[in-house]
């Protein structure tokens, strides 16, 4: 009976995957549609400072302390609601950057003859684990609000810089290889 179910599942899985591939947007294009220049734009030093300020504001405690001390309960609730929305939006952008970095990676290695399957597998696990943790943080944000993650500011900044570094490096082919060659 389990063998029958397994075989039926194989059939269904194949059909589901084919439907997904048929519905995939831009799959007939010769190049990767999701690697647009604007997606890969690296933030400047100015925007980096701006970003740090943004993070301090989103997760910092000063605004909340002020609101808590000097406003009504209704205003406090409104503040928390808006901050939650902003924090979720920030997290979504972070995930999007990680996704773009990973897409850039797979777009480059898929044509590489040096691809190491085991390393690729580990990388995929790392990536999906990262995405899962992002999901966990999103859940904490939804349940506890941004104030529950106040200690995140510094780490979030490092994470953001780290991902940006990855994208910067990925956008400079010469940085990856000492021995590039034309295929």
């Amino acid at each position: 009976m389990s063998g029958t179910l397994t075989l039926l599942a194989i059939g269904f899985l194949l059909i589901a995957l084919l439907v997904y591939l048929l519905r995939r947007r831009g799959s007939e294009e010769a190049d990767v549609p999701w690697l647009r220049d604007e997606d890969l734009a690296i933030p400047s030093a100015h925007s980096e400072d701006h970003r740090k300020e943004q993070l301090d504001r989103i997760f910092g405690g000063e605004d909340w302390e002020f609101i808590r001390r000097s406003t009504s309960r209704r205003v406090q609730q409104l503040f928390l609601k808006e901050r939650k929305g902003i924090a979720l939006s920030w997290l979504s952008r972070l995930r999007s950057e990680a996704r773009t970095g990973m897409h850039l990676h797979v777009a480059r290695v898929r044509a590489s003859q040096e691809l190491a399957p085991l390393a690729e597998l580990r990388l995929a696990i790392d990536y999906y684990a990262f995405q899962a943790k992002c999901g966990l943080i999103a859940a904490i944000l939804l349940l506890g609000g941004p104030m529950a993650l106040r200690n995140m500011v510094g780490q979030a900044e490092s994470l953001s810089n780290n991902l940006r570094g990855m994208l910067e490096a990925a956008l400079k082919p010469e940085a990856f290889s000492q021995r590039t060659r034309i295929r």
Partner: protein
């Protein structure tokens, strides 16, 4: 045979003939010999079977199974050709596919041998079960290919997509109908006789639509991109992701 079944059979032959005629005109036989060879063999079989069914019915069943296994062997070639067609320009993804496929086939083989050793799984108990198992291996190969296409975002041309989708749907429905036929038995025979030709007709329809477009055959052109040092790239991406994960881990600690 009912007039509906006969007209369906003839429609299938007509569709196969149409695709083959176009392939001959455009010159696709050289580019995809296994796929069009497979289609040509099915076309010949269909015409031949129609004659046998009509005039010498007692020979129909044994001939059917011989032809079915010949098609099965040709189908293995088609599966290989789909891999070549889609991953030919992407040696990295192709290498990954070979490795994953080797692991999957090793697992299937080990399970099959273990089952046969214990006497649990009579692999060749019936022709239906044997064909089902071999088709299931093909289905697993196509699942591996589909997953890699999705993961590596391999662009699919209309031609490759059409062949893959048509053949994939044919194999998936074959696995399911053969499984139900082997599991339920004769009670499913009537449904099988009805469902199987319709599934194959759906595949023929997909091939007809996909191969009729004016797309140029995807020539295996060399990409004028600089190949990166894989190790550096993989290490960099991995390090970044591990660090990012650690930061997130610290963030959620109280």
């Amino acid at each position: 045979m009912s007039s509906y079944a006969l007209s369906f059979w003839l429609a299938g032959v007509a569709l196969e003939g149409t695709i083959l005629a176009r392939a001959l005109v455009v010159g696709w036989f050289k580019k995809c010999p296994f796929f069009f060879g497979y289609l040509a063999s099915v076309f010949v079989q269909d015409v031949f079977f129609l004659a046998v069914y009509s005039f010498k019915f007692k020979y129909y069943k044994p001939i059917y199974w011989y032809a079915e296994f010949f098609s099965l062997l040709m189908g293995c070639g088609v599966t290989w050709e789909i891999f070549r067609l889609i991953l030919g320009r992407y040696p990295g993804a192709g290498r990954m596919a070979r490795n994953v496929l080797a692991i999957v086939l090793l697992m299937v083989l080990t399970k099959g041998l273990a089952g046969a050793w214990n006497g649990d799984i009579p692999w060749t108990a019936t022709m239906v079960e044997l064909e089902r198992n071999l088709r299931a291996i093909q289905a697993l190969s196509l699942i591996v290919l589909a997953l890699l296409i999705a993961y590596y975002r391999v662009p699919l041309g209309r031609f490759a997509k059409g062949i893959f989708a048509g053949y994939g749907i044919f194999i998936a429905t074959m696995v399911m109908t053969l499984t139900l036929r082997a599991s339920i038995g004769q009670a499913f025979q009537a449904a099988w006789v009805f469902v199987q030709p319709h599934c194959y007709a759906a595949s023929l329809g997909i091939w007809c639509v996909a191969l009729w477009s004016g797309e140029r055959f995807p020539v295996e052109q060399s990409q004028s991109k600089i190949e990166e040092d894989y190790q550096s790239l993989a290490l960099l991406t991995k390090r970044s992701l591990i660090q990012a994960r650690e930061f997130l881990g610290r963030a959620i600690r109280p």
